[in-house]
């Protein structure tokens, strides 16, 4: 009667000095959508690596039973062979190859004489694309697709291998709402075809919407498996399991006392670096001391482009616009000028643009403020250590010492390092681009607390986010951005998700 497609029993995986997984068990029923929740670093990804054979049999203790057989995978090929496919957070597609070539990469359909019959391959690929609801030509290079569509190509690739169990690691982290909805709908469709899915996600609303069961992992141990059918399990209930405590609220309380205006942008227009179109279309906005201002916009609305072009013209070609700090016009033509004028910008992709992952905490914290740590070009490395050490304590960065390599920290702690770096430059205004992306619930709360401390100390903060609840929970005012234009300015107590969304999509409807 119990038809379990997968049972992982008492999995224990130890790395030198760290017990990543301890006695973890996971049971997945055939044909269900099973969610795995846990804070970053809880061991979700490690568990999936054990399952998919990245960590070969023998490197862990415990037993994997798939489809009734005990499995001992020595590599990904083995797990793929029995029908397990894993789609990682970072997509593994080759941008210059076509969709069809990517789908059959490593699994090429060879015809007579070992040659590939491209017509046949493309036809097969088209069928697969149809089954995942992607209307694209199979010979289109993958690099021309958006992230959402690439995700679908990955799924089509998995389907081409007759997958029985599909594992998705944070599939919607980089997707907008439409693409996310499509992807989750697709999981339902696949479910009807008898394909079981495991989905790892931080987005609890998605989990409660789509999953049949959810297994919660905390500190490398299974906490519980909850059935979501009865409808009694709420997001709060899952969070309690993940963090082991009740979060009174997602967002810490803050009293708002806005002061003088710090930053004002007027008539800011920026062109795409290569195309002749405005990405930021004559935008104006301002922030006051002690105030958190949100910028809401869908993907492609120009949020990041707006911020980066202000921050030392790091994006696009400048067309027009002025920047005023404390009422006086300033130039920010280079990053150095922007920093000198008291502007700091924490990027949305901290691994790619924010951190030197192979260096330690100390050198990352000092990276933007070396001028303050040096005399005539010579760095005072003891002072540097002191600064980093005090950041580590005040920001509660969880690492044994400031000599820990940043690449090995969890997302939340990496973000705290980024914030430490910018705080050391002592800016007047901080622009935080997706400050909590890919960060677990507990660390998110800490980041919000840090933001509150900053405005309490009289800083001005701009938060760019695609999560509307986050903006509503942290900001005083929200600007909406659509197709590069500011389409609205709403005090947060008058704003709802619906009203913001209406403003964020305004321009598009006009254009349509």
């Amino acid at each position: 009667m119990d038809d379990n497609i997968l049972e992982m029993r008492s999995i224990t995986k130890t790395f030198p000095g760290v017990k990543a997984l301890e006695d973890v068990s996971l049971t997945v029923r055939r044909g269900e959508v099973h969610a795995i929740c846990g804070e970053n670093g809880a061991g979700k990804s490690t568990l999936m690596k054990v399952l998919s054979g990245v960590y070969p049999a023998g490197s862990y203790d415990g037993e994997i039973v798939f489809d009734g057989d005990v499995c001992r995978f020595s590599g990904i090929r083995d797990s793929e062979h029995v029908g397990i496919a894993i789609i990682h957070q970072e997509l593994a597609l080759v941008p210059y190859l076509s969709i069809a070539e990517n789908i059959f990469l490593g699994n090429e359909r060879r015809g007579r004489g070992g040659l590939i019959n491209w017509n046949k391959v493309n036809a097969e690929a088209s069928e697969l694309l149809e089954s995942v609801g992607l209307r694209e030509n199979a010979i289109t290079p993958v690099g021309q697709l958006g992230v959402g569509k690439q995700q679908l190509v990955e799924i089509a690739k998995a389907l081409s291998k007759d997958v029985k169990l599909l594992i998705l690691d944070e599939p919607t982290a980089a997707l907008n709402d439409t693409d996310s909805a499509h992807l989750l709908g697709l999981l339902r469709t696949l479910q009807e075809r008898g394909i079981t899915s495991i989905i790892i996600s931080h987005k609890l609303n998605e989990i409660t919407a789509i999953a049949d069961n959810v297994t919660i992992i905390r500190d490398g141990k299974t906490v519980e498996t909850l059935s979501l059918h009865a409808g009694e399990v709420t997001q709060d209930r899952i969070i309690r399991g993940m963090v082991g405590r009740d979060l009174e609220s997602y967002y810490p309380e803050r009293e708002s006392h806005p002061g003088e205006e710090v930053l004002r942008i007027e008539d800011w227009a920026v062109k795409h670096p290569t195309q002749d179109r405005l990405v930021v279309d004559h935008a104006s906005f301002s922030v006051r001391a002690g105030e958190v201002v949100g910028i809401a916009g869908l993907m492609g609305a120009g949020r990041t482009e707006l911020a980066m072009s202000i921050f030392g013209r790091s994006y696009g070609r400048h067309v027009s616009g002025q920047i005023f700090m404390h009422g006086k016009e300033v130039r920010t033509r280079t990053v150095t000028e922007a920093i000198d004028n008291g502007i700091a910008y924490a990027t949305e992709d901290r691994k790619k643009y924010g951190l030197n992952l192979i260096e330690d905490i100390r050198r990352n914290v000092s990276a933007a403020g070396l001028g303050k740590l040096s005399r005539r070009g010579w760095v005072n490395s003891n002072e540097e250590t002191k600064v980093a050490e005090s950041s580590r304590k005040s920001m509660n960065i969880k690492a044994p010492s400031v000599s820990s390599i940043v690449g090995k920290l969890s997302g939340g702690n990496q973000q705290k390092v980024v914030l430490s770096k910018w705080l050391y430059t002592d800016p007047d205004v901080l622009i935080l681009d997706e400050p909590t992306r890919g960060i677990d619930v507990g660390a998110k709360y800490e980041i919000y607390t840090i933001i509150n401390d900053l405005v309490a100390a009289g800083k001005a903060v701009v938060v760019i986010s695609s999560e509307l609840p986050e903006l509503l929970g942290t900001c005083d005012r929200v600007y909406t951005l659509s197709a590069g234009r500011i389409t609205g300015e709403v005090p947060v107590r008058e704003a709802t998700q619906e009203s913001l969304m209406a403003l964020m999509t305004k321009e598009r409807e006009l254009a349509a």
Partner: protein, 417 residues
């Protein structure tokens, strides 16, 4: 007061009756503890000591004999100079394939001025350095401001400057340099303080170096204590200083017993200390590592990437010129084919010394030890009469294994999460 040596490789020195000094051996329990805590960076030193010990044993101590130690310094100095510049280029994520050609060109310019035109020796040196700086600025311009990958720019430079060398020399070798010029690579400082069969001056300089090392280490340790930083135990600290002191003094003793302190060793020592400090303790040095570690993050942290990249190549040009002067001085002339394959030796030294192919990792000291490993192997094998072809095979394998070991180490460290 000074003598010069003909530049033949692998000469067997006359006084071969010699027992290995403590420099060749290591391995007390405390030391192992210390090394383990610094394993990532210490692997290279262990390997160096092992290779020295191996060849000292195979050559019955000849490798560490007074005359041969001196020869080692004279023979490989220019590669070590190049390795310093190269490791900085590599840390920033670039490569320089042109240094061999630049060594030839700078030597050629110097030779034309001094030998052909009869200008004073120092004019030749200054002109060579000016040419090196110009070449560096040329590379820096294309890499930093135009954005062409350094591999391409310096590959072009390799051809370009080799061609210019032939032009400058009109396709013939020039020789000989005046005695003053030859002093740079083959001269010695000795007898300044007298001595009894050995040179006191060399020993005094060695002692000053050891004292300087001890004092600067003590001061940085004291500063760390002041800032509440963890430091190694006092016993371990003393052990470290004594060990380094013993090695340096043994080395100085061997030099003192031969011909005294080579001038080129002084040049090398000054460069090593200066660049060690620049890479470790200056804003410029930090920015080099930041660029190599994550270019985008460095840009968005306010690092002036273009300027830093430009000066990295200007500096490489400068050090190529220094190597060019040393090499032309040592070979007592300029040849059209001078410096061929030097770039590969310098690159190999940097990688054996722990630099990462992807940039962001590496040290000046590491690169110099990497260069010394190559030097000791070539020299040792020459002493043993190993054929050049086999030497090349062995060096190739050592380079491959050194990087493989590094990759393996990193993977093991990376598996921790």
């Amino acid at each position: 007061m000074t003598r010069t040596v003909p530049p033949q490789a692998g000469q067997t020195p006359p006084n071969a009756d010699f027992t290995p000094t403590p420099a060749g051996q290591s391995g007390s329990g405390d030391l192992r503890e210390f090394l383990r805590s610094n394993l990532r960076t210490s692997g290279i030193y262990v390997a160096f000591v092992a290779i020295v010990a191996l060849f000292a044993f195979l050559t019955d101590g000849t490798l560490l004999s007074a005359g041969n130690v001196t020869n080692l310094v004279l023979q490989y100095s220019y590669i070590l100079v190049l390795a310093i510049g190269m490791v900085i280029v590599i840390i920033a994520g670039h490569i320089d394939l042109s240094v061999g050609s630049v060594v030839a060109l700078t030597g050629a310019v110097s030779a034309v001025l001094v030998i052909d035109r009869g200008l004073p020796w120092w004019v030749g040196i200054l002109a060579a350095i000016a040419v090196g700086l110009l070449v560096g600025a040329w590379h820096g311009f294309w890499v930093a401001y135009v954005g062409i990958p350094a591999f391409i720019v310096t590959l072009a430079g390799m051809l370009l400057f080799r061609g210019l060398t032939l032009q400058v020399l009109d396709n013939v070798s020039l020789s000989p340099f005046p005695a003053e010029y030859r002093e740079v690579a083959s001269g010695f400082l000795n007898g300044l303080l007298g001595g009894y069969g050995y040179d006191t001056f060399t020993l005094v300089i060695g002692a000053i170096a050891v004292a300087g090392y001890a004092v600067s280490n003590w001061r940085s340790r004291a500063a760390r204590v002041r800032y509440g930083q963890p430091v190694e135990s006092l016993a371990l600290f003393v052990l470290k200083v004594v060990a380094v002191g013993a090695v340096v003094m043994a080395f100085a003793w061997q030099l003192a017993n031969a011909r005294g302190l080579p001038i080129v060793l002084i040049i090398l020592g000054v460069l090593a200390i200066a660049y060690g400090l620049i890479t470790k303790n200056t804003v410029f040095g930090r920015q080099v590592y930041a660029i190599g570690g994550n270019l985008s993050a460095a840009t968005l942290s306010g690092v002036k990437v273009k300027a830093v990249n430009f000066w990295i190549f200007v500096n490489m040009g400068f050090l190529s010129a220094v190597a060019g002067v040393i090499y032309s001085s040592r070979s007592n002339g300029a040849q059209p084919a001078a410096g061929e394959m030097f770039e590969l030796d310098a690159i190999a030294a940097a990688f054996i010394g722990g630099a990462a192919v992807t940039g962001g990792v590496g040290t000046v000291v590491g690169a110099m030890v990497g260069g010394l490993i190559m030097a000791v192997m070539s020299n040792g094998m020459s002493l043993l009469g190993v054929d050049q072809s086999i030497q090349s095979v062995v060096k190739g394998l050592v380079l491959l294994l050194a990087v493989a070991f590094d990759v393996y180490n990193k993977r093991r460290a990376g598996a921790a999460r």
